[in-house]
């Protein structure tokens, strides 16, 4: 058996005795012997931890809990409902406001669209490309984004 096999075996046979050939290997291999002793140490530690008793519930734990649950059902559940509904209402209002502002800021036609909207993003359509530039350029002038491609 080699060291890897021994260490795998220690993990597999956790808390059990190892076969004779493994013990023979460990008598000659200090590293594996330390590994096995560490495993024994951990096992003893786990046993000691497992023996530690958890604390008892304080007197009246269950009845206090039930009372709190009933209070929560009476008030908390309702307020939680309104909180959820209220939050959704706020989000919906914000989304609507944003949509409204955008629709005002970006009219569907007119000279402003060229600057503030698609033109700014370099996404000018064919229709707009045939209109005069807002700065006063000639028909057909466009503001194209230079994406690092070859220049004409």
């Amino acid at each position: 058996m080699d060291c890897k096999e021994i260490r795998d075996l220690v993990g597999e046979r956790w808390g059990e005795e190892l076969p004779v050939e493994a013990r023979e290997h460990m008598s000659k291999c200090a590293g594996c012997e330390v590994y096995w002793r560490n495993a024994r140490f951990l096992q003893a530690g786990f046993r000691a931890l497992a023996e530690e008793a958890p604390p008892d519930a304080s007197f009246g734990f269950a009845s206090r809990l039930v009372r709190r649950l009933q209070e929560w059902e009476a008030t908390g559940a309702r307020s939680e409902f309104f909180e959820t509904v209220g939050r959704r209402f706020v989000y919906a209002t914000l989304a609507l406001t944003l949509a409204l502002l955008l629709s005002l800021a970006l009219p569907t036609s007119g000279p402003v669209r060229g600057v503030a909207g698609a033109d700014f993003l370099g996404l000018q359509s064919h229709n707009q490309a045939s209109q005069p530039d807002v700065v006063g350029g000639e028909i057909g002038d466009t503001h194209e984004l230079n994406l690092g491609g070859p220049t004409k």
Partner: protein
């Protein structure tokens, strides 16, 4: 008969009542399972002062979710799953360490403790030494990643079988075996590192 002692058919009846909103019936279930929940929470979180609050949160979650309980697994398993998940979330939020008896020991007495603990069985340890050993391995467990801590606690401290852990964590038994093996290896490596660093 104590209020918390009832058979499976009665338990099913109580659960159905709770699903219809009967808080009193839930109280009976709490009384029956509080010790189990306290044990899981304590072994996973290892903070005596936090156990009751966390257990209360676990039961609170269970009450809110009980309508979704469909009797496919036992109520004990279902509740334990909620407790394990709740503690897991808690551990991910809070990763703190605390003062150790072991760290306060001299190097000589720490070596003595290690030597004694390695020789099975550890009856040779007196109360103080057992406390120190417990504290040391507890600290190692706290340093471990949450997944390792979870699976090692369920196996070594809560004494669940591999099959029970698989059921609890909704994993295959082969996956649990692999994770357990890896968790032990990582913990052994951490123990080695800890010793090399001189604690």
């Amino acid at each position: 008969m104590a209020r918390s002692e009832f058979d499976v058919s009665q338990e099913v009846e109580f659960i159905r009542r709770v699903q219809k909103g009967d808080g009193e019936a839930f109280g009976l279930l709490v009384e029956k399972y509080q010790q189990r929940v306290f044990s899981i929470v304590f072994h996973l979180v290892r903070r005596r002062d936090e156990v009751e609050d966390l257990a209360q949160e676990v039961f609170f979650k269970a009450f809110r979710a009980i309508r979704s309980y469909n009797f496919q697994s036992s109520f004990a398993t279902w509740l334990s799953r909620i407790a394990v998940n709740h503690c897991y979330d808690h551990l991910r939020k809070v990763r703190a360490s605390h003062l150790s008896y072991y760290s306060e020991m001299t190097e000589e007495s720490a070596h003595e403790l290690e030597r004694k603990a390695e020789s099975p069985p550890p009856q040779g340890l007196d109360h103080g030494e057992r406390l120190a050993l417990r504290d040391f391995v507890g600290r190692l467990l706290e340093r471990a990643p949450e997944d390792d801590r979870l699976i090692l606690t369920l196996k070594e401290l809560e004494d669940h079988s591999v099959e029970e852990i698989a059921d609890l964590l909704k994993l295959k038994t082969s996956t649990v075996k692999v994770r357990l093996h890896r968790a032990r290896k990582r913990m052994l490596a951490d123990l080695e590192r800890w010793r090399q660093e001189g604690k």
